[in-house]
């Protein structure tokens, strides 16, 4: 009788242990499945600069970062047509690059390319709007005054 009681207690102890282990493993499995689904559904979204960040970067004179931002945005399809706030900051970067291309073309004696670069500079200058004061800063920077 005592043996029977002892055995029944031992068995219920085993059952509790099995239940506990099964529950813990099941919980861990469910959590891992959720984490896996979340990780796989998440695509590698590129970090794209918004207009405000781009403007701040340009205003601080950090044109090297601004060039990166504009090119990364454009490569991911974010341009002036998607958000009009980008028109002016993009134009500043386009002006800088166009002026560099212009000076490189002059240096190489390629007048046709220089003329085309000048046209790009003028178009970018118009789009700069109230940021046109940046053009002088860029000119000074490139010439090295």
């Amino acid at each position: 009788m005592r043996k029977r009681i002892r055995n029944s207690k031992k068995k219920s102890g085993e059952e509790r242990l099995f239940g506990f282990v099964t529950t813990v493993l099941s919980l861990i499995l469910v959590i891992l499945i959720c984490v896996f689904i979340h990780a796989v559904m998440q695509s590698h979204d590129p970090y794209l600069a918004d207009a405000e960040e781009l403007l701040r970067t340009i205003n601080s004179g950090n044109y090297e970062s601004a060039i990166s931002m504009v090119h990364e945005n454009r490569a991911n399809g974010v341009d002036e047509t998607t958000d009009s706030d980008f028109i002016q900051p993009y134009a500043v970067v386009d002006y800088l690059q166009a002026e560099l291309d212009y000076r490189m073309s002059i240096e190489a004696g390629e007048s046709a390319k220089a003329a085309s670069s000048k046209v790009r500079m003028n178009e970018a200058y118009k789009k700069m709007g109230d940021m046109q004061f940046k053009a002088k800063e860029i000119d000074r920077m490139i010439i090295g005054e």
């Binding site: 099964t22 499995l29 950090n62 044109y63 240096e107 490139i142």
Partner: protein
């Protein structure tokens, strides 16, 4: 057995003698013993059945736990490799849309838009995709040019900034490093394949080198002859040339 009273034959189960009618004392004891045996038998049988069921139940539970543990290990491995799985999916998507990406790459090369190509290949991740192995040298050259261009702009703007992470010497050193790397990447090495230089790729890389030389002439004021000699120089010589030229230009 025999009846104690008349001696006639009796079965042990007979409670009374069929000849003399006297009670058989052994029958009661026998019945009691039979009942005890039957009870013990049933009890033992139940215990054995329970024991057997218990063992198979235990085996079943252990199997369930083993399967759960195996699933947990597999899911753990999948979670650990989730990034690799994502990259594989992205690479497969690129390979499936190779023509679309190729069209953009070809257009950018035709326009000699080196920066555009450098950023496009990086943002779309085609630079790491095996479907574009033939463009490896083009991509590497464009990437070198991009970094060199950014360092050059950083050098130009440094004078107008209150604070810079790098000094002018450090930036010029970086420019020299990228230039040297770009010139090396454009050259045909021993194990390079023909298709890495065919279909306009060589022309694009040559154009990139020319653009780099022009940029150095504009920013550093080096002569055309010095610029043409850049691809033949070591990185250290390029660095010294650029530093000296930059100093001279600033003194003017």
């Amino acid at each position: 057995m025999k009846c104690q009273h008349c001696g006639s034959n009796l079965n042990i189960e007979d409670k009374f003698c069929s000849f003399c009618g006297e009670p058989n004392p052994f029958a009661v004891q026998h019945q009691r013993e039979m009942e005890q045996f039957t009870s013990d038998y049933i009890e033992t049988k139940e215990e054995v059945i329970k024991e057997t069921q218990g063992k198979s139940r235990r085996a079943g539970r252990i199997t369930v736990i083993a399967v759960l543990a195996a699933l947990v290990c597999i899911m753990g491995l999948l979670v650990f490799k989730a990034d690799d799985i994502n990259y594989w999916r992205e690479d497969k998507a690129i390979a499936d849309n190779k023509d679309k990406y190729m069209a953009v790459v070809e257009q950018l090369m035709a326009d000699e838009d080196i920066l555009g190509l450098a950023y496009y290949m990086q943002e779309t991740r085609i630079v790491w995709n095996s479907s574009f192995d033939d463009y490896y040298k083009v991509f590497t050259t464009a990437s070198d040019y991009r970094r060199m261009y950014e360092y050059t702009v950083e050098l130009m703007e440094i004078k107008y900034q209150d604070y810079s992470y790098s000094t002018e010497e450090e930036i010029i050193e970086n420019i020299a490093e990228e230039l040297s790397s770009m010139f090396e990447d454009c050259e045909r090495q021993q194990f390079d394949k023909d298709r890495e230089f065919s279909n306009g790729k060589k022309e694009f890389m040559d154009a990139t080198v020319e653009q780099a030389k022009l940029l150095m002439r504009v920013v550093f004021g080096i002569s055309a002859e010095e610029a043409d000699a850049l691809p033949t120089m070591t990185e250290a010589r390029i660095n010294v040339l650029l530093e000296d030229s930059y100093e001279k230009k600033n003194q003017k």
